[in-house]
Structures are given as C-alpha cells and as structure tokens.
C-alpha cells in the first residue's frame, strides 16, 4: 500500500515526460499539417534512408571498437583490489563531468587541419585529412561512449566470485582456460548491456557528426534539422528509429538469455 503511494510522483513524471511526448510523436507521424490521417510522412522519411543506414553503420563500428577497447580494460580493473578499482572507475568518470560539447570541441581542435595531430603526422610525411570524415565521427563516438561500455562489463566481472576462478584452476584450468570457460561466459550479460548502452545512443545522437563528420550527417542530426521545419516528417523518422532500436533491444535480450543458459 505504502509503496504504491510513493510511486505516484514517478508515475506522474513518466506520464508527463515519457508517455505524452511519445503519443505526440506518434500522432504527428501519422497526420499531415491539416491533422488528417496520412502515411505521406513516411514516404518523406524514406528520402533519408541512406543517412539512416549510415548511422547504423557508424553506431555498429563505434560499438565494436568500444567493446574491443573496454573488455580487456574492464577485465584488468576487476582483477585489482577493491580500493584500486574505485579509484580507476572514478578516473574513467572524470571526463564525463565535463560538458558533452566541450569534449567534442576538444576533438575538433585535436583533429583539425594544421591541428596538433595533423602537424605531427605531416612531420612524418603523412598527409591525411583527419577531420570531416567517418573516421573522425567514430573517434568522437568511441571517446564519448567508452565509459558506458566499460562500466557494465566491469560491474559484472567484479562480481565474479574468486572461488569460481579457483574452482576452475582446481579442476585443471590454466589461465587461458579459466578465461574461456568461466570468466568470459559469466561476463556476457555485461557485454550485452554494454553494447546496448553504446549502440542505442550512438545510433541516435546528434552534434558529434555535425562537428566531426563534415557534410556527412547522422540520423540524429537529420531529425533535429527536419523538426525545425516539419514536425510531421521529423516525427516519422524518429518513430522509425525508435522501432529499429526497440527491435535491436529485443534481439539483444533474447541473445543474452540464450547465452546465459547454454554457455
């Protein structure tokens, strides 16, 4: 009874800030400017399918790079003493205390033509364009979302009981086998939530591509632009993105459940 009463403010919050906006998006997506039912918005939205696929591609690449970087790091952190773990995790969080835009600007400064990195590379005779391409966007994304991959994997790994590792050694596992047979299978839930936490925002974020990607926008930027002139088409694109991400989440959860049972 009591718990029900305390949940009312949250229910109200969700209603005002989640459910109603969602219904509004759906309403706009299926109506034209006169308010009549229309699927024309989705036809308009299909103009952006290339950007859409490009966004998913960038998100996928960024997520994979995050995973490759984060997994060994999370693993080695989880092997440290608890006090060390706390300090390292805190340092991982420090960049997140800074404004999102500032961090992107920092990358613009680092990567820009005649910027520090460009100067160093041209010194070695490498004449590359570091900014305004997909690579720069991926770098920005990975930098932005790496902690979201490390933290869930670390959380799961640090909970693996030492006695399980000892049990594996006891039963004849050398170091590599302990990892393959025990640590990796038990860390899969962390990987799943890490992928989810990185893929979803990278697919839908905006600004990163605007600053680092030159002319190549991502779907988040497109939604922002389109919304400024046409709520209906903007809503339609947002809705499609939402459905795709929802599908992705369902898929990941299925995969996670299966993995946990069969190893």
């Amino acid at each position: 009874m009591k718990s029900k009463a305390t949940s009312y403010p949250y229910l109200l919050w969700m209603l005002v800030f989640t459910v109603i906006p969602l219904l509004m998006v759906i309403y706009y997506a299926f109506t034209d400017s006169t308010g009549a039912f229309s699927l024309h918005n989705f036809v308009n939205a299909s103009d952006y399918s290339e950007v859409f696929l490009y966004s998913l591609y960038v998100a996928l690449i960024s997520t994979l790079i995050c995973l490759v970087l984060a997994y060994p790091l999370a693993f080695s952190i989880s092997r440290c003493t608890e006090s060390k773990q706390r300090i390292i995790v805190m340092f991982l969080m420090v960049p997140m205390w800074m404004n999102f835009l500032l961090r992107i600007y920092a990358w613009v400064l680092i990567l820009q033509n005649y910027g520090p990195l460009d100067t160093i590379l041209s010194f070695f005779g490498l004449d590359l364009t570091l900014i305004g391409n997909t690579g720069a966007v991926v770098v920005g994304m990975v930098y932005e979302f790496l902690p979201f991959m490390i933290l869930p994997i670390h959380a799961v790994m640090s909970k693996i009981d030492d006695s399980l590792i000892e049990a594996a050694q006891d039963l004849g596992c050398s170091g590599v086998y302990v990892f393959r047979k025990v640590i990796f299978p038990l860390s899969v839930p962390g990987i799943i939530s890490g992928i989810t936490m990185v893929f979803v925002p990278t697919a839908s974020t905006f600004l990163v591509a605007q600053y680092l990607g030159g002319t190549q926008f991502m779907i988040g930027d497109v939604i922002e632009r389109v919304f400024q002139s046409d709520h209906h088409t903007g809503s339609a694109i947002a809705l499609v993105l939402m459905v795709v991400i929802l599908g992705f989440l369902v898929f990941m959860n299925r995969f996670g459940d299966k993995e946990a049972v069969t190893g």
């Binding site: 000892e166 049990a167 050694q169 006891d170």
Partner: protein, 470 residues
Amino acid sequence: MQKDAVVKLEDISFKYSNEVILNHINLEIYDKEFITLLGPSGCGKTTTLRIIAGFETPDEGSVYFEGEKINDVPPHKRSVNTVFQKYALFPHLNVFDNVAFGLKLKKLSKKEIEQKVKAMLAVVDLKGYEKRPVKALSGGQQQRVAIARALVCDPKVVLLDEPLGALDLKLRKDMQIELKQLQQKTQKTFVYVTHDQEEALTMSDRVVVMNNGVIAQIGTPEEVYNEPVNAFVADFIGEANIINGTMLEDCKVKILGKTLNCVDKGFGKNAPVDVVIRPEDIEVIPPEEAQLVGVVEDVVFKGVHFEMSVRCENCQWLIHSTVAQKVGEKIGMTVSPDNIQIMHKMFLNPNNEIFTEVYYSDKEQNTTTFLLEGEEVTIPDTFFEEGEKLHIVLPPDALYIAGDGVGQLDEVYIESVIWKGEHNEIILESDERKWLMHSDVDEQVATYVPVCFDFSKATVERAEEAEDEV
C-alpha cells in the same frame, strides 16, 4: 592404517600483510585417511588447506606430494581437488556440465565423460538431475554436485573447506555420515576443514587441532578428547571443567585444597598444572563420603542427560548425569583417577613479571613512569629514582580491558579465553610479550582490545639480581 604420507607439510610458515597466519607447521597426511583440521576461525586451518591446493604459496617451508616437492606447482597441475566452502559451482552450467568440467579439460571422449559423470551423480544420489541448472538446486544438492565435481576427477586427495557450514543441522548430520561413507567407498584421502568439534570427532580418523597458526595436537578423536595436551584443546573439544591445580608428586594432584589421585606422572613436584575433568566423568555420591562437596545451582534437561551446574568452593562445576538432583541440594562428587587429565600450563609467566627501569619520576606527584613497548606508563603513589631498575609483578587480576577504549597498551590480541571454574583465564599477546588476565566477562578470541593495569594490585620493587632469572 598405512603410514605412507601422501601430503607432507614441512616447517610451513605463512604471513598475510605482516600478520603471522601459520607458524612453522609440520603435518603428514597419510594415504586413504580422513583427516580433519579443526580450530576456531583465524587459526590458519583454511590457509593450510589452500597451501595444499596450491592457491597460496608458503613463505617458508616445503609442501611434498608423494615425496615430490610441489611448492611451485600451480593448482591446475596438482592431483588434488577442492570442495569449496560455498560450493563455487559454475552458475552458467547445468549439473552435468559442472561435474564434467574437470573431465572435459582432461580431453576424455564424450562417451567416457558421460559414463563417469552419470556414475558419480549416482554415487552422490543425484541421478536424473543432469540437465538442471545449479541455481535451481537446494543447498544440500548443490553440496553434492560440488563433491561429485571434485571426486569425478579421481584425485589422490580431496580437500574440503567447511563444506557443510551452510546447511541446516539435520542435513549436516546426514551429510557427515554420507561423507564418511563416501570416503570409505572411494578409498581417497580426505582433508577436511571445520570449526565444529562434533563434526571433527564424528568423521575423522585423525584430528589436527589448530590454534593461532600452530598445531596444538594431532591424534585420533578419542585421543584429543580423552588426552588433551593443553587447556585450549580440552576447552575447544567437548565440554570440560578446567581447573588450576598443583601436581604434588606423581599421581597426586591438588585442586581446590583437596588432594586427589590421578594416573599422570612426570610433571615434577609442586608443579602448577591445568586439570581437566569431563562433565560425564563426575559421579554424584552422598556428601559425607566425598572429598569434593558442592551445592546444585542449576539443572537443565538435555534429552539424554541432565546438565547440572554445581558450586564447590569458588568454582562452578559442570556435571552430566542421567539422574537429576534438586536445585539447592548438597551433593558429593568423585572422579575416578584415570578420568582426571593433567596438562602442562599453557603460560609460564602467570604473574606477568616485568623487569624495566624508571624512565622518569615525579617526587611531588609521587609517581614513577617507565617505558612499556614504547609507551609511557605511569605508576601512581610510587616513587623511585630515575634510572633505577624495577621489578614489577602484575597478577592476572591487576589487568583489565579498558571500557572507554583507551588503554595503557592499545591493540592487545586476545589469544585464548578459557573458563577456569571461577573466572575466565585470558591469554593476551602484545607486541613483545604475552600476558595472563582474569576476567568474569567472556571476551571474544582473536580480537584486539586496549588493556589497562591496576597498580594497586601490583607490587613494584627495586630489582636486585633477579634479572638473571628471566
């Protein structure tokens, strides 16, 4: 019993961040025996087991397995398997895969693995549970899986680290008998760690009683129960009346002012000793025929017997008898000579004698200060010249634990607490020496406490040539 040592620990010492966990341990474990490491928490029994398993490397000493030194052999190459305290079953695998884990690593054929796992699951009464996830099993079933997982690898030695600790009493009793039968059926060496003395007595061929990182006694369950080597063992195993006594001569011991006949010899004349009498060895007789006479203070029915508390002189005696006496009744007590067990004192400086010199003194305040383990300690109402040699005698009741947390010696380790009929005898360990303290309070062993001195109960005198004696 065969006398081939499968595992031999030679002069093993182990420290963990400067704390001595094991202090020169020597132990031989024979083939096919059920040996139990028994002791209170923090005595080093689990560390000993982990050294045999290979999870810890001793700082000093050697571990031998079938005559071969294995100090540097990693756990996965040792022919021992462990049953862990909280089972440590792999949560991502089902029962079959948990048990098959070790066999798969040995690269056996699928058919062979299946055969062995099935056979082992039948041994531990888990036929038909192959496909169940381990999380869906009860504590007792998980325990069986853990045992099967260790046994299926066919190790020479099975190490069990308090495996029954998490089970309820009834299940634990059943599992004790099952484990013992399993050990006899499989003909393997079991090394079992527990703090439960009853468990140790029930299952073991031999019991190793440990305390404070050393082995107090090794023997059969009967030996450690009937012939404990010191007050710690007597107190830890079973219930006991432990009383201070004096060995007048061979076969004559004086307790509570009465001389009793016993069967122990070789303690010398007028030697202070600890005397152990088990509660079931005391016979109740009419008071006029008895040397020891007491008044019944309390009677509790325990199912098989009555547990009676009897006050005799200043001492509280515990008696187990099938016949209940009335509370307030005067009874006589007698013990047959071979049921009186005489033991050497655990502690040889019962008056806490200190030889030191005056650090500084204050004539006006009438105080004398000396240095004790780097701390200044001031004796009130006593004056000696600076630099003078002192002989301080602090009888056990001059020590007390500081209630406000600030003692003259902070951080003193409580090594043992033994009830001696009228008070607890507590052995304390500070940085440089051990202390004997009397207390009515049951202090917690293996904790650190601040200790104060009551100098009104102490004697402080000028030390003469006495220094040579210590």
